[in-house]
Amino acid sequence: MAKEGLPPGIVNPPRPLPEKAGESPEEHRTPGTLVLVLVFLAAFVVYYFVNWKLLSFVWRVG
């Protein structure tokens, strides 16, 4: 329970990592972040494409 006026990170600091935690490469997977990164990439592609499309409306070639 957080104490009024103090951030939880100070009142209840994050638990120390268990000993030997993260030693195995299997534990180093971050699938959630990977999904978020792919969503970002998709947004990037869509926005970039839309901008070229908009440009084609105002700057016609031929």
């Binding site: 006026g5 990170g9 100070i10 994050p14 971050t30 972040t33 947004a43």
Partner: protein
């Protein structure tokens, strides 16, 4: 010597008394600048919202100058000076090198800022943040900026001197922490930035006195080495704060220290090129220069941001997973401390900076696309997402830890503090996206009256513009409410807050 230090009961760090005082002084002045810039923001917003159209034209441009200088220079740089003292003296358990010079620098920055404020509020410098030549302000304006920049440059020198002192006096072992490394890259970019500032403001100051001439294109070229690069100091400092907040709030781990350090180094080498996107429609520069700077070199800086944009959340995820939150894809995120304003500010800062600020910024960096975005509201839409929703929000989150750890006070109005990042982030997201949409419809930036009421020609924007401008106003008002809450919390906590010692004794 030990009498000059206190040991932080929470972190165990030794805090030099001078570092403590310098951090407090810089942070307090930074928040005062935020307040001035915030009031100007409210008045500007109520003017650009055509339904209200509050200010007369002269005060609109005057307050736009006030808003830009206070938000992009004074608030941000005072806060970053505090971060430099924290990342050097506090994180390395060291004393501050040359504390007297540090105080001299602080007062020089304050004096410079006060001179600039006076010139702006008295109508002697209605030249906007960019002060493009041949717009001429009073010489005091340029002198004030130069004094401020010299002060900031001295603080950067003290930061590097403190790193050397810490190394010599062996106050830490191994490599410097990643947060200090990030702050060091911000400091290096600050040197580049302030060098550009000196190179352009000194001749412009002389020109304002009637000595010599300044070419308008050269001014733009060199000035943007200051104007945009100063925001890159923010980026490096913000990313350093992301790593710090991740560690403080959820015990995030650094996925790969070497990769993160390389990414910071890429900022130093390539991020200044991003300034070129302001000059892509300028006729005085050749296409080769434009293409090299924006289409090649700049992407290496973008790569750095993408690396940090992956390693920071991945570090949070890994830290959470190693503590047992392993169910599904997102238990680590669901079970994170969302009621901690430090954590919520961190996450919203990453998301809005990356998704809105980052993507729009890269788009502007494309020469062909720039021509449909330049000087429209898309540009402020972009930098409000980076500097305000990204950097300022990260600094706000850090403040909730600085108040108890440095000021030794409890955070006042705690229930409000918990929701403040949500209000501010939601407001800034709506505001930035609406600005971007308005810009897509061709709405110009820095424009007093987009109805062109007194223009000799008639021009009508798409009716959709009214809708997005209203959304912009609603988002802006929400964000200003969040900002006002932040200032109220900060000022009350620092000056009237309950001391932490009293709480511990009780």
């Amino acid at each position: 010597m030990s009498a000059d230090f206190r040991t932080c009961p929470t972190t165990g760090l030794k805090v030099h008394a001078q570092a403590d005082r310098l951090i407090k002084a810089n942070a307090v002045v930074g928040v005062v600048a935020l307040l001035i810039g915030g009031i100007a923001a409210l008045l500007l917003l109520l003017t650009r919202w055509q339904v209200v159209h509050l200010l007369p034209a002269d005060w609109f441009y005057r307050l736009l100058t006030v808003h830009g200088m206070n938000m992009l220079i004074f608030f941000i740089l005072f806060f970053e000076m505090a971060i430099l003292y924290f990342a050097s003296a506090v994180l390395l358990n060291s004393r501050v090198a040359a504390p007297r010079l540090a105080w001299f620098s602080f007062w020089l920055m304050v004096a410079g800022a006060l001179v600039v404020e006076w010139t702006m509020f008295t109508g002697r410098a209605d030249v906007l943040f960019t002060s493009y030549v041949p717009l001429r302000a009073t010489p005091w304006f340029y002198l004030g900026v130069i004094l401020f920049a010299v002060g900031a440059l001295l603080v950067v020198a003290i930061f590097f001197a403190t790193l050397i002192v810490a190394k010599k006096e062996r106050t830490y072992t191994g490599s410097i922490p990643l947060v200090t490394f990030g702050a060091a890259t911000a400091a290096i970019i600050a040197v580049i930035t302030l060098g550009h500032g000196a190179a352009i403001y000194i001749p412009t100051f002389l020109w304002s006195l009637g000595i010599g001439n300044v070419d308008a294109q050269i001014y733009r070229l060199v000035w943007w080495g200051l104007g945009h690069s100063s925001q890159q100091i923010n980026v490096a400092a913000m990313v350093a704060v992301w790593y710090l907040l991740g560690a403080l709030t959820v015990g995030s781990v650094v996925i790969n220290e070497k990769i993160s350090r390389i990414a910071f180094t890429l900022y130093v080498l390539f991020i200044s090129m991003a300034a070129a996107h302001h000059l892509l429609v300028d006729p005085g520069l050749p296409p080769t220069w434009k293409v090299w700077n924006t289409s090649y070199a700049m992407y290496l800086a973008v790569l750095a941001s993408m690396i940090h944009g992956f390693t920071v959340p991945a570090g949070i995820e890994l830290g959470q997973r190693l503590r047992g939150y392993t169910k599904g894809l997102f238990e680590w995120l669901r079970r994170a401390p969302w009621g901690d304003p430090g954590f919520s500010a961190l996450i919203f800062s990453i998301i809005i900076f990356g998704f809105v600020g980052g993507i729009t910024g890269v788009t502007f960096g494309t020469e062909q696309i720039n021509i449909i975005a330049h000087n429209t509201l898309r540009v402020p839409g972009h930098f409000h997402a980076t500097v305000v929703a990204g950097t300022t929000l990260a600094f706000m989150g850090l403040t909730y830890y600085v108040i108890p750890l440095i000021f030794r006070k409890k955070v006042a109005f705690w229930p409000l503090a918990r929701i403040q990042p949500y209000l501010f982030a939601a407001g800034m997201l709506i505001f930035s996206v609406a600005m971007t949409f308005a810009g897509t419809f061709g709405v110009p930036r820095r424009h007093y009256d987009i109805s062109f009421a007194q223009a000799p020609f008639d021009f009508q924007f798409s009716p959709a513009v009214d809708l997005v401008m209203t959304a912009m106003a609603i988002g802006g008002l929400l964000a200003i409410t969040g900002g006002a809450i932040y200032i109220a919390i900060t000022v009350w906590s620092v000056f009237f807050g309950k001391p932490l010692e009293a709480e511990v004794k009780a």
